[in-house]
Symmetry: D2
Subunit: 321 residues, 4 copies
Amino acid sequence: MPTILGQNQYGKAENRVVKITRDGAVHHIRDLNVSVALSGDMDDVHYSGSNAHVLPTDTTKNTVYAFAKQHGIASPEQFGTALARHFVTSQEAIRRARIRVEEYAWERVDTTASEAASGAGSASGGDGGPRHSFVRKGQETRTAQITYDGDRWEILSGLTGLTVLNSTDSEFSGYVKDAYTTLPEDHDRILATDVTAVWRHDTADGDGTAPDGGVRDWDESYARAKAHMLRAFAETYSLSLQQTLYQMGARVIDHCAGIDEIRFSMPNKHHFRVDLAPFGLTNDAADGAVYYAADRPYGLIEATVLRDGAEPRIPVDMTNL
Amino acid sequence: MPTILGQNQYGKAENRVVKITRDGAVHHIRDLNVSVALSGDMDDVHYSGSNAHVLPTDTTKNTVYAFAKQHGIASPEQFGTALARHFVTSQEAIRRARIRVEEYAWERVDTTASEAASGAGSASGGDGGPRHSFVRKGQETRTAQITYDGDRWEILSGLTGLTVLNSTDSEFSGYVKDAYTTLPEDHDRILATDVTAVWRHDTADGDGTAPDGGVRDWDESYARAKAHMLRAFAETYSLSLQQTLYQMGARVIDHCAGIDEIRFSMPNKHHFRVDLAPFGLTNDAADGAVYYAADRPYGLIEATVLRDGAEPRIPVDMTNL
Amino acid sequence: MPTILGQNQYGKAENRVVKITRDGAVHHIRDLNVSVALSGDMDDVHYSGSNAHVLPTDTTKNTVYAFAKQHGIASPEQFGTALARHFVTSQEAIRRARIRVEEYAWERVDTTASEAASGAGSASGGDGGPRHSFVRKGQETRTAQITYDGDRWEILSGLTGLTVLNSTDSEFSGYVKDAYTTLPEDHDRILATDVTAVWRHDTADGDGTAPDGGVRDWDESYARAKAHMLRAFAETYSLSLQQTLYQMGARVIDHCAGIDEIRFSMPNKHHFRVDLAPFGLTNDAADGAVYYAADRPYGLIEATVLRDGAEPRIPVDMTNL
Amino acid sequence: MPTILGQNQYGKAENRVVKITRDGAVHHIRDLNVSVALSGDMDDVHYSGSNAHVLPTDTTKNTVYAFAKQHGIASPEQFGTALARHFVTSQEAIRRARIRVEEYAWERVDTTASEAASGAGSASGGDGGPRHSFVRKGQETRTAQITYDGDRWEILSGLTGLTVLNSTDSEFSGYVKDAYTTLPEDHDRILATDVTAVWRHDTADGDGTAPDGGVRDWDESYARAKAHMLRAFAETYSLSLQQTLYQMGARVIDHCAGIDEIRFSMPNKHHFRVDLAPFGLTNDAADGAVYYAADRPYGLIEATVLRDGAEPRIPVDMTNL
């Protein structure tokens, strides 16, 4: 046979599962998109079409929904861990499971606050408002990827679509000029990007859900990582987007025990100061300027930041989970 | 000539303009997408290709950027009004200008609050933080459309992409059953939708920017309309999405002087309770259930709500600005 | 009551229906996206939530699938006509039905031809190849909208996403210059656009399916309209995109009996000749040039062309079906 | 320092370049989207913001456009090779360049053929028609990735968005059943997928552009790979999508000298036969059936096929170029 099978995986992708938890009149929501990818003893199905080792992708979908009911959804990481363990331990032919999760955040419709915001005063007390109404927050998408091969765990968390902008404290100068360089230096520019980040948790203790033997608070871990990323973006006087990226990564690792590696993919969303001189107008950054927000092309900066001594394991080509 | 020209318009669409205003170290941002459509004495350019009456679309783009500098961007409505007036009053051949605006909301990176949120304590005081860092809010897109023909103004405001969900207090029953009906009644379902709304302001006084002779606070007007829409969605015990839609519209008109008409396009984003009986599991809404969030098909409910006596003018086919 | 209900409609949108017809070993495919919108005596459901007049949107979905089996899908127009008639004639509360259809074209996998194309020679004869394998054509999306109110029919056909480009025979000059004009004239530019078109068929004879009392060949009608549109685009020496648009519309009406009105929405997809002078290179159109294909902003040209004497009925704001 | 920099790369992404070549009145078009990613001695820019080693992304953009003029675009692979060589050999700090290219196919507007297609007969001869009018083909996107580190070349070609469907000769049965399995076996189902494929060329001879010392015909190579992929899809009686995938890969490797490895990512685009029994209708595949084309979730099958003895080098996580 002149050809052979290489790495392969299969499963049901993008299972959209919403779990409502009722705490009396107060409801809670988790809104996920779950993708299952399984590998193992799968030569036959590729070579001959025999499905004798194939758990149907439809079954993996059913399992996602049943597990949401049976085990609840405490976090993307916990939910993915339960699913990955199940597939690897219950199916002899399956040697490795990779669960990817996207989570969409919701916030409560705060009828009191929104009334205040509208300047209309507040009649209803805080207690009496509805507790089952939500509006999608709409900011970044939270991501996670849990991989288990029966022995080792890998747990990645991340986010995508977090759009940030500094309207000053950014320059770009002192760069290489070759025969194709026309860009003028800029000492006061807008710096804007859509952050996609993936970070890897220490799973040295084995089961991945509790590096210290207890249960990790994945929601707190995520909030902390995002907050430090935003702070580093805001507080760095930027000489290049690379520098800002590195500061964001270093700060997450410095402040988040158990995160050993983080990789970013950050487009430089160019905001070009418009030349208004033909119309007799100045448009200096210092006076507050008008910018053209460009679509394409865009600079694209990708890099990994590591805790010193940690091994890089996040694939270079995995720009998003 | 067996064919003739009918209604026509032209202009530059999707001019992405970002305006930074500096108030000392505190910066402000407005982030718009502006589309210009002009009509008038344009037979020749269609019939013979003569551009003698055609102001280039490139010029309309330049005008958008120059006006952002010259007049600032106080609101989508104010900015659109200035542009519409300019085109109609400065170009003899142009009899009507329609300006559409999308606005993307940003919030400040609150380094103090985000630190607190991460549970890491707060070292820096509120005063010392950066004041030029923003994160895109990411919720709904605000919209506006200003039309001027040299005589009458029409000012529409709106929003799109506001995703809301009630996890209870929604039913659907008592409907018509015909030979193709299989849907079971449901007395406790999720109700979710992406709200697109367009509302029309009273411009009886002429220039559209100030119904009472003063300057309307368009930002406040928008916040108020959105807040009442959300409250009505949250507080309505829903027997049908049509009923919820009507309550949302009625509430906006009741609470917002100067809004005479509102039209909604609201998909019924179906969340189907998953049948877990094959796995020996119950999945009742009352206990907190697991749902499958479906993509397509979806119910689509569209309707106009009017102040009694007002004339309907929002086109039925204009589902979004 | 200070508010009242205006125009409203509801139904199931985006029912994705694929119909396979078997003619022995030769299969045929129709691949549609069908949206139903119904109007009528619907005050109660909006005011009080009573569903007594409401045929569920789920039922309209079921009807789409059942009709595809019972009546087949001869064309988007024929299928939409059958559905519209059904809803209006079978439900007392429903006074008007509007059916929108998108169709995606497929072509056969021609194993003989593709082998030849690959330069590998052809071993298998034309007869022996599979007759049930298709590859999506991927060009434009065909559209249709059928509206029936129990008395009058309106039948619109259309297309969207037909991307065309002329690499010469296009100029833009002789236009108005005002204080904001900086655009240089161009006597040899690329003209490119994504055509969206909607055209209206004569339905004077009543039922819309057969203006001459017979059955109209809707597929032939569509192919003819598209072909003439393409020819007019290719054969017009263009002084403006408006002129090209008009020629496309006029040609369709001239060559297609029964089409009385056509409306276009055509973005001017700008291809800017790159300034390579800083690198010591000329980049003249006449020598074959390099262009930057821009995303936003873009010129947007919209216009209606009418058979002389015909009444304009395609809504100005309905840029696509 | 507790953190260190890991793998990193930067450059300008999505440069949209269109090159027109004029051969008298006959024009030719190449329409690319080119992304540049450079790596090398870039520690300083990350650690301190020093740009002393940074060739601006704007310069890489200029280089793309200048090279399109200077060297032309013979194919995505040739163009990417020229760019990669340039960056690595001209900049001391740059040790590795990766060029990604998407290409969009156009076909000529055949005014003769389209007239015939419309049934209107043909008056104009084949010779007289325009030769500078194109319509975007709209089928798959062709891709390529060229990587050069000053020593070794890697050349990948690929495609994405090739949507194919078999309306019979596909079954799925004999699979594992566990407690979460509810799927019934199906012996006559639709098999449909959107093919994304990446294949790797033998570059053992060094410069990657000519394995045999001459110039490889990349367009012919691409057409051949695509044709064999389509044939294998059409001619395989499928017991599983995995089997079909493997046949597609094996056939490409068998018939295309110089292709040693191919990786696929193929969603199982489910077409569910609709249950019409509630309406008294049968809907058997054998009679020609009605299907619901689902969006999400979908099965996702990914696998590599290798020439026996070849080393797998296409990253598992690089599902598309």
